[in-house]
Amino acid sequence: MARTTKEVGSVVEALKDLEDGACIMVSGFGLSGNPEALIEGVLAGGKRGLTLISNNAGSIGEGLATWLRAGIVARVICSYVGNNEDLQRAMDDGTVEVQITPQGTFVERMRAAGAGIPAFYTPTGVGTLMAKGKETRIFDGRSFLLEHALHADFALIRAHRADPFGNVRFYRTSQNFAPAMASAARITVVEAEEVVDLGDIDADDVHLPGAFVQRVVHVPEHRDLIEIRTTRSAGT
């Protein structure tokens, strides 16, 4: 009996049931570690009114900023806008509703969603604008905010290596939000640089077990833009 594979033949197939108004989590930190083909695939798919959950929502016109430029995003949940001019413009225009969340709360809300935790208390944001409308509660004399789980329809994540069950290895700082997003979404699609056979990743070396993954698509080549290229001078 052959095992069911989660590998699909194309980005189009991986995104086949993504609908208008879908809520989509996308991993990556700025333009680093982006699931580039899946990002392009959503853009090409032409669906609109999307909720985008991503730490930066693209940058310098690239990556997820192309979704903003195309006007297919209705709402963004992120932690940082920074040099993302497209997001700034969309906020100023009022064409996109933007919810800014502290980065640790952002990821913990997704981790909670994936772990069956509907809500948790955190010290982050107490006494700040982030506390607006939120329950504050004291434990052991210190104040905490109640934060709720953050779910999504899709999570699009980038992997270094995946197998047909969806076991994943990440590379360096590309891991970032991917495991939490994978756990929080109904359908997690992995864009893998390499797809290997079952057993090629040792059990102790799996970063994200296949139970959290629904689809795998093999994308060997990436642009991997460097946003801020910093180097040291020769000799140091």
Binding site: S32, S79, V81, Q103, T124, T173, Q175
Partner: protein, 201 residues
């Protein structure tokens, strides 16, 4: 300032350096310094910038700069990274600031009426690091005070700042005033008082 801030780092400790002035602290550390730099995007044991041609697009810090790993570095996901931060496993965070008050309140993420740039990991670091040291210019470019009686800018966290390092000296929040720990060479207490928006002694 960066040199003085580096003195705050205990041997073997885990330190997170914020974007801006605090980044300069890394530059004054010796290459084999006994410190573990944490970057909230999921990296512990951040090394210096790479040599030209050796940049790895998938190895960056929270400022999105290309970096390297020191031997003993580890990479992990953001949930683990912020568990590390919020759970008190980062010994020291060094951050920039717009305003600090004597009660330890910190404002460093948003200017009223300014563009929204987002908060990133600043609120988590401010709330979670075991010790928080601010490195900043003593006054804003327009001459307005940054050491103030009460923060008027949107807050990052309440009562979290342990120490402030500026070009004029080193100051500790002491509830109703700033306590002067050190003055920079040639700086007088009178000068500090004139350039500080809260009692200083």
């Amino acid at each position: 300032m960066a040199h003085r801030a580096a003195q705050e780092i205990a041997p073997g400790s885990v330190v997170n350096l914020g974007i801006g002035l605090p980044t300069l602290v890394a530059d004054v550390l010796p290459p084999d310094a006994d410190v573990w730099l944490q970057s909230e995007n999921g990296l512990l044991g951040m090394g210096p910038f790479p040599h030209e041609g050796e940049e790895d697009p998938q190895l960056i810090n929270a400022g999105k700069q290309t970096v390297t790993l020191v031997p003993g570095a580890s990479t992990f996901d953001s949930a683990t990274s912020f568990a590390m931060i919020r759970g008190g496993h980062v010994d020291l965070a060094i951050m920039g600031a717009m305003q600090v008050a004597p009660n330890g309140d910190l404002a460093n993420w948003s200017v009223p009426g300014g563009r929204t740039i987002g908060v990133g990991g600043a609120m988590d670091l401010a709330a979670g690091a075991r010790r928080l040291v601010v490195v900043m210019r003593h006054q804003a470019r327009d001459g307005s005070h940054k050491l103030v009686t009460t923060c008027t800018y949107p807050l990052t966290a309440l009562g979290v700042v342990s120490r402030i390092i500026t070009e004029l000296g080193v100051f500790d929040p002491a509830e109703h005033h700033f306590s002067v720990v050190e003055l920079a060479p040639g700086v007088t207490l009178g000068e500090v008082e004139a350039r500080t928006g809260a009692p200083t002694r």
